[in-house]
């Protein structure tokens, strides 16, 4: 027993090995949390619509997600005849890879993430912005006009909304003076969460970040690229079976990771009444994810050009003003040269 503890201690010392272990643990946990998010979405949506949601598999239907997972696994793996086989097949794993990679720099515990990069925020946002490529490739390689329409809309939307996303994420960076996520959270210690202090710019920046995340994740009200009523499933129309399952899971993991980022950047991360730690981090991320779910099932969607107009006419100028305001605060109030 003591030899195992020694081994663990040795692993903990070696930086890259520690990162690997923490990374795998994070991956597993987040996948389970994504499954929980799907369950929560289906039950909460059901409640909103006066119906119970899944009830059959497991108590309150908690096994339904796993049942769906196995159902997707055993489905026939279809590739359309006229589709580009290699591109078509490579896309879903890339989606999962991108989404899970961004987890490397997201700290869930005060001890730090799997890889505590000094440019943590940038890395997370840059990795998730790579999502444009698989979505576009999916639409193109499907050889399906409807998928192409969806992919074009998705690309336009994703690259447009990256700007308010990054700019609004810059506000806590400027206020904290560092890109490292652990340092940003430490700068909010003592209940000086950036959403509320300084009053004003922080909250607006959070709202912008939230809305830009909705747009990046293609959630309603910005989900025109995968508008079911027009395009069946947009860029991913031709995908079935586990390929679709990977997109599906990727979407939920992306939502959860973005919610985690929002809690880290704006809501003090693992701080809460009582002892700090993982539980507060998870609670905040889950509350934000729950609100994303609720928004999805309440509002209808914007048209493609309308949401681009929202981005360029309203969100980008607002985000620029916010970064400027954050800088001014830092100089004059924060007392930093």
């Amino acid at each position: 027993m003591s030899r195992i503890l020694d081994l663990l201690g040795t692993i903990w010392e070696i930086g890259w090995l520690r990162g690997l272990v923490v990374g795998f643990v994070t991956l597993g946990t987040v996948m389970l949390i994504a499954a929980f998010t799907i369950w929560f979405e289906r039950k909460w949506t059901g409640r909103m619509q006066n119906r119970p949601g899944p009830t059959e598999r497991g108590y309150a239907g908690w096994l339904q997600i796993f049942a769906d997972f196995f159902k997707l696994l055993q489905k026939e793996d279809l590739t359309p005849t006229a589709a580009d086989r290699r591109l078509f097949g490579i896309v879903p794993p890339i989606v999962v890879f991108i989404v899970l990679s961004s987890l490397a720099v997201v700290p869930y515990v005060p001890q730090g993430p799997a890889a505590d990069a000094s440019v943590g925020v940038l890395f997370a946002l840059a990795i998730s912005s790579l999502m444009v490529f698989p979505v576009w490739t999916a639409g193109w390689s499907s050889n399906n006009k409807w998928a192409l329409l969806g992919a074009m809309r998705a690309v336009a939307q994703s690259i447009s909304y990256e700007i308010p996303l990054v700019l609004s994420a810059l506000v806590p960076v400027v206020l904290a003076g560092s890109f490292r996520l652990t340092e940003i959270v430490e700068a909010q210690a003592g209940w000086r969460w950036f959403a509320f202090w300084p009053p004003g710019p922080g909250l607006v920046a959070f709202v912008l970040f939230y809305l830009a995340t909705l747009a990046e994740a293609n959630r309603i009200p910005f989900d025109i690229p995968e508008a079911e009523s027009e395009l069946v499933a947009g860029a991913t129309t031709e995908y079935g079976g586990m390929k679709f399952g990977m997109f599906y899971l990727g979407e939920y993991v992306h939502t959860f990771v973005a919610s985690s980022l929002a809690s880290l950047l704006f809501f003090g991360g693992w701080e809460g009444p009582g002892p700090d730690g993982l539980h507060w981090m998870l609670a905040k991320a889950l509350i934000l994810t729950g609100s994303v779910v609720h928004v999805r099932w309440t509002l209808v969607r914007y048209r493609s050009d309308q949401l681009l107009r929202l981005c360029w006419y309203y969100f980008v100028p607002a985000a620029l003003v916010l970064v400027f305001a954050a800088g001014l605060w830092r100089i004059f109030v924060g007392g930093v040269a």
Binding site: L149, L299, V300, R301, S304
Partner: protein, 402 residues
């Protein structure tokens, strides 16, 4: 308002430059890439099996060709070999969202041929049923409209399920009266087939109270909602002259400013006894049609309440109940009867030569005229808009194809 040929039209009618629906694709020079997109009969949002061949310039449509007939079942031909006693169940299946209006149109045509007037109790009951059917139909319309906008997995489905929850209440009430939730076969030549069961009016009133309260909730989700407004305001503007030339009616016509409603202008059943207030909007876009239908729902609730207060006593049929298939013989003649269905003017034209079955029964479906507007309305709209426009016209493919 100006008066043109007996119809009141908005004063400022500008004849908009109308797109050419017969534009040849070769003659069009696209700015971006021209693409032919088939919004095929199987599609999540075509309200039935409608095929729309869209020619897109980028994402803007420059030509739209609707193909109908996927749901054709030969109802009119079947009716040529069915007697008056047997015919009513067939027209239930045309406009399957509001079957009672189809039944009324057919039954009124036969009654006009026979020169039979249903008794007052039947007339009032018929009017109540028509208005209840109008509320149910508009609930379904609003649900599917928001479904087109917000998706099967999304906010649209919440509004959809709420509307169906209320529609179920009306269907329950109609089931209590007739025995079926859809395809009622509630009307017969000469009157109604079912009389009011005890306590029915109490339940109808309770249902109306519930629906009236819930309408406020739907409006909370749609009326001032920025997303809803962005999707519907200014989209699919229908020129009133085009609407009149195409022969549409109902909310499509009244949303463009034409103050015309058969319930007030050519009253039938018991509509002469009630003062039907017609909502009219002048904008002509999808939002105007939405407003008209919401107002029509409220007006229908009001009419039902008025009529429930005073259902006259007496029989519910003017002819002896049929004991065999040839009990009702149609005299020779031709007649056309048009009534105001939730989608417009639903008409039935019957030609009879005195034989047991009619020579020809032609049903004038309002949705066919609405679908005929699509080549005009879709030009200049993006694919997303086309889905909304189609939804706001409220076509039911069952009656388009029969």
């Amino acid at each position: 308002m100006v008066e043109v040929a007996g119809l009141r039209l908005p004063a400022a009618i500008t004849r908009r430059p109308r797109p050419n629906p017969y534009l040849r694709v070769e003659d069009y020079e696209p700015e971006a890439d021209a693409m032919a997109l088939n919004m095929g009969p199987q599609h999540p949002s075509t309200h039935g099996v409608l095929r729309l061949k869209l020619y897109l310039d980028g994402e803007i449509c420059f030509k739209a060709v609707p193909y109908v007939g996927y749901l054709h079942r030969g109802v009119e031909k079947l009716l040529e070999s069915r007697t008056a006693v047997q015919s009513v169940p067939y027209v239930d299946k045309n406009d399957y969202v509001s079957p009672l209006t189809g039944e009324l149109a057919l039954v009124m045509a036969y009654e006009a041929l026979l020169d039979v007037e249903p008794p007052p109790r039947a007339q009032v009951l018929r009017t109540i049923l028509m208005e209840l059917q109008r509320i149910a139909s508009h609930h379904l319309w609003l649900g599917t409209f928001c479904l087109d906008m917000g998706g099967a997995l999304g906010g649209g489905s919440s509004i959809f399920l709420y509307n169906f929850r209320e529609r179920e209440l009306i269907l329950d009430v109609l089931e209590e009266l007739t025995g079926q939730r859809m395809h009622y076969n509630a009307l017969a030549v000469g009157g109604n087939r079912h009389d009011v069961p005890p306590g029915w009016d109490v339940r109808v009133r309770a249902v109306l109270d519930r629906i009236e309260a819930r309408l406020v909730e739907y409006e909370a989700m749609t009326l001032e909602n920025h997303v809803f407004l962005s999707r519907t305001v200014g989209v699919g503007v229908l020129d009133p002259l085009l609407a009149l030339e195409a022969g549409v009616g109902g909310a499509n016509l009244r949303g463009s400013g034409v103050d015309h409603d058969l319930r007030r202008d050519a009253p039938y059943a018991a509509y002469g006894q009630v003062d039907v207030r017609i909502p009219v909007e002048t904008a002509g876009d999808c939002y105007a049609r939405y407003l008209v239908r919401m107002a029509e729902m409220r007006e229908a609730i009001r009419i039902v309440r008025l009529l429930l207060d005073g259902i006259p006593e007496g029989p519910i049929g003017a002819l002896k109940p049929p004991r065999n298939v040839n009990a009702i013989k149609l005299p020779p003649g031709e007649v056309y009867v048009g009534i105001e269905s939730p989608r417009g003017e639903l008409g039935t034209y019957v030609i009879s030569d005195g034989s047991p079955t009619p020579v020809r029964v032609k049903i004038r479906p309002p949705s066919l005229h609405a679908v005929s507007l699509l080549p005009y309305l879709c030009v200049g709209a993006t694919v997303s808009d086309i889905v909304i426009i189609l939804g706001s016209l409220d076509p039911i493919l069952g009656e388009v194809d029969r």
